[in-house]
């Protein structure tokens, strides 16, 4: 435990967002392109391209000890994937350095390099080689991989005829049998059915506990993170917001700020939704609170906002709107405003959910924002042995039990 397996110092990655200038004629754009081309060829690939610079990752430093299982959390665009890409050598950093001791295998996607025209057997070899296994090693683990994936009968069928479930199982099976010293895993558990996900988690747990291997794991699945990881790294806008025990990082992450989505109207004449804000702090305390701002060019007599919560698989779980209440709903006349909906307590199990919102008035709908915000919910109710949600459903209703011995 003396020297860290991974040491990251001041790591940064800059991208350029290209804002392509509008050119009026084809010739204009061509001459511009050629000038650019000439400049870049002459000045070398490192020449400054036009465009706004953007640091996907900036000044990130942390250490990972041998045998540690590090969970990396953060919102979309916080730099998690960029960090994994840098550590797995897919692209190089713009600033800082990372020192890695040991062989790295990265699993940024399930089934990288699978070819649909090849059979399952052939793809095991191809995919294994791509992930860095040697031919001898693949042959040694071949039976194990096939058994884990449960595809014995279809081994010589072309992968393009596989169901998506079989495809994912096979792909994960190959990856699960990698034996690197450091394993980098990105969000791969978001695929596959619940039962297989459980199997994958079990396998990762086994790998993590059993062999002293170091794992870096990015996920939105808070349950999985809690189960597998010991330490956490919370990234926010490309920088480290918090590092330390996973529970602390998760708590910080889940209660941080608001999840807000803003929208620009395609037709400003029509009444439209301008923003949707989800209250993270409320969520961390087991309450659901979402605020919807809207705007109309002419006053709306009885503005109505609808909110529906969906499971991550797209099933509607609960929804409501002002219109369904009839005369009770009397917000008054307005052309601009914020309407907030609240559920306290939120009777759902821990999982990922999506929220769609709708805008209308007493008579008709004007605007809708499907899946406007997404959130990971960690319920304040903890069940030591919770069956999969595909079995018991998402709703955590206030059950009351009575027992009468006779």
């Amino acid at each position: 435990m003396s020297t860290p397996v991974i040491r990251v110092e001041g790591l940064g990655k800059r991208y350029y967002l290209s804002h392509e200038k509008r050119s009026d004629t084809l010739r204009d754009s061509l001459t511009q392109k050629f000038r650019q081309l000439g400049r870049r060829l002459a000045g070398g690939g490192g020449a400054e391209p036009a465009g706004e610079e953007f640091w996907a990752l900036r000044d990130v430093s942390f250490d990972v000890a041998q045998g540690d299982v590090l969970g990396i959390i953060g919102r979309n665009g916080a730099g998690k994937s960029t960090l994994l890409k840098l550590l797995s050598r897919i692209t190089e950093p713009t600033a800082g350095r990372a020192t890695i001791r040991g062989r790295v295998a990265s699993l940024l996607e399930v089934g990288t390099g699978f070819h649909p025209e090849l059979s399952g057997r052939e793809n095991i070899f191809l995919n294994g080689a791509i992930l860095g296994m040697s031919r001898v090693e693949i042959r040694r683990k071949f039976d194990e991989i096939v058994a884990f994936a449960e595809i014995e009968r279809f081994l010589d069928t072309q992968v393009k005829h596989y169901s998506s479930g079989m495809y994912v199982r096979l792909a994960f099976a190959v990856a699960a049998h990698l034996e690197p010293e450091i394993l980098i895993v990105d969000e791969v558990l978001a695929v596959g059915d619940a039962q297989f996900q459980k199997k994958c988690l079990g396998k990762m747990n086994e790998v993590a506990r059993g062999s002293g291997r170091t794992i870096l794991f990015v996920s939105h699945n808070t349950g999985a993170l809690q189960a597998i990881c010991r330490t956490g790294l919370w990234l926010q806008q490309g920088q480290v917001a918090q590092a330390g025990p996973i529970a602390n990082c998760l708590a910080g992450y889940l209660s941080s700020g608001n999840e807000a989505a803003t929208f620009t109207a395609t037709n400003p004449e029509k009444p439209h939704i301008t923003s949707v804000t989800l209250d993270r702090t409320a969520l961390a305390h087991g309450r659901f609170r979402v605020s919807v701002s809207f705007k109309a060019s002419a006053p709306l007599s009885r503005p109505v906002i609808g909110v529906t919560i969906f499971s991550k698989l797209g099933q509607p779980l609960a929804g409501s709107n002002g219109r369904m209440m009839g005369e009770q709903w009397a917000p008054g006349v307005m052309s601009e405003g914020v309407i907030t909906a609240e559920i306290d307590p939120l009777p759902l199990h821990s999982d990922t959910y999506r929220v769609s919102v709708y805008l209308g008035d007493a008579a008709q709908d004007y605007d809708q924002k499907l899946e406007a915000v997404e959130f990971d919910y960690v319920s304040p109710h903890f069940y030591p042995q919770c069956p999969p949600l595909s079995v018991i459903g998402q709703c955590d209703l206030p059950w009351r039990w009575t027992v009468e011995p006779k």
């Binding site: 692209t91 950093p93 390099g113 080689a129």
Partner: protein, 276 residues
């Protein structure tokens, strides 16, 4: 994967990996697998299958023999005209296939490059394998034609591998340039077929280079001139005679292309995943 020493890897901006070539060697199995994949899927879902590797050269052979041999009445030395053409067609088709495969290889493997690390050089190198497969089939066609005309090559045929290597190195050199450029500027996708079309007429494929007595040294700046002349020299009893200086010019050009192609490729490869 039991490794006694733990290698230390430092990732830093602009740090070219010192172990690049060792890494490339370590990933040689992947090179083999990618080549095997390309070969394996090459003729899948085609009705005629491998026959396609024969149809193309046979038709080209017939057309060129007709145009250059019959219409233009060009000399062919002591060998039948179709053999002369085929000996030019062999290296040219090897070059054309290897070059165009290599040129498109990085873009065609975007999904791999964006998700896994390996020395990127493996991608264009492995794409050349398919070209070799088709080449081997065309070589069979040559053997058939030789048997038909009872034309037996002499000892010079033993030197043929050298010219196959020259052809491949030329194709890889130009392919490295084009594949690296295509990643950034997709314009170059249109350049490749155009270059091949022009190159076919600028290289002595349908005729013997002896038809151009002057400017031979300048003509040899096209490295395929050296390769094609070499093929003919090896297969057609040393005719036309190989001028060492011309050959040297072609080999030097090929070497220059390869060295510069490698240089440019390695410069772009470190950030290729960002632009692809």
């Amino acid at each position: 994967m039991a490794q006694t020493d733990t290698p230390e890897l430092v990732l830093e901006a602009g740090r070219a990996s010192r172990d690049y070539w060792r890494d490339l060697w370590r990933y040689r199995e992947l090179l083999g697998f990618l080549a095997w994949r390309d070969v394996k899927i090459r003729y899948k879902q085609t009705v005629l299958g491998v026959l396609w590797a024969l149809i193309q050269p046979v038709v080209t052979l017939a057309v060129f023999t007709f145009i250059f041999g019959k219409l233009a009445g060009m000399p062919s030395g002591n060998a039948p005209y179709p053999l002369l053409v085929l000996c030019g067609l062999l290296p040219w088709q090897l070059f054309a296939a290897a070059f165009s495969n290599a040129s498109g290889s990085l873009v065609a493997n975007t999904h791999l490059i964006a998700k896994v690390y390996f020395p990127r050089l493996i991608v264009p190198l492995s794409s050349v394998a398919v070209a070799l497969l088709d080449f081997a089939i065309t070589l069979g066609l040559l053997a058939l034609l030789c048997a038909w005309w009872r034309f037996v090559p002499d000892w010079r045929v033993l030197l043929l591998p050298l010219f196959i290597v020259l052809t491949l190195l030329t194709a890889i050199g130009t392919g490295l340039w084009l594949t690296a450029l295509t990643v950034k500027y997709r314009d170059f996708r249109f350049v490749v077929p155009f270059l091949l079309q022009i190159g076919l007429f600028l290289s002595p494929v349908g005729f013997s280079s002896t038809n151009l007595p002057n400017w031979q040294h300048v003509y040899s700046l096209n490295p395929m001139v050296g390769a094609i002349d070499g093929f003919r020299w090896c297969l057609l009893h040393g005719e036309p005679t190989l001028d060492p200086l011309n050959l040297a010019v072609s080999v030097a050009m090929s070497g220059l292309l390869l060295a510069s192609g490698l240089w440019y490729f390695r410069r772009t490869e470190r950030t290729v995943a960002d632009v692809i």
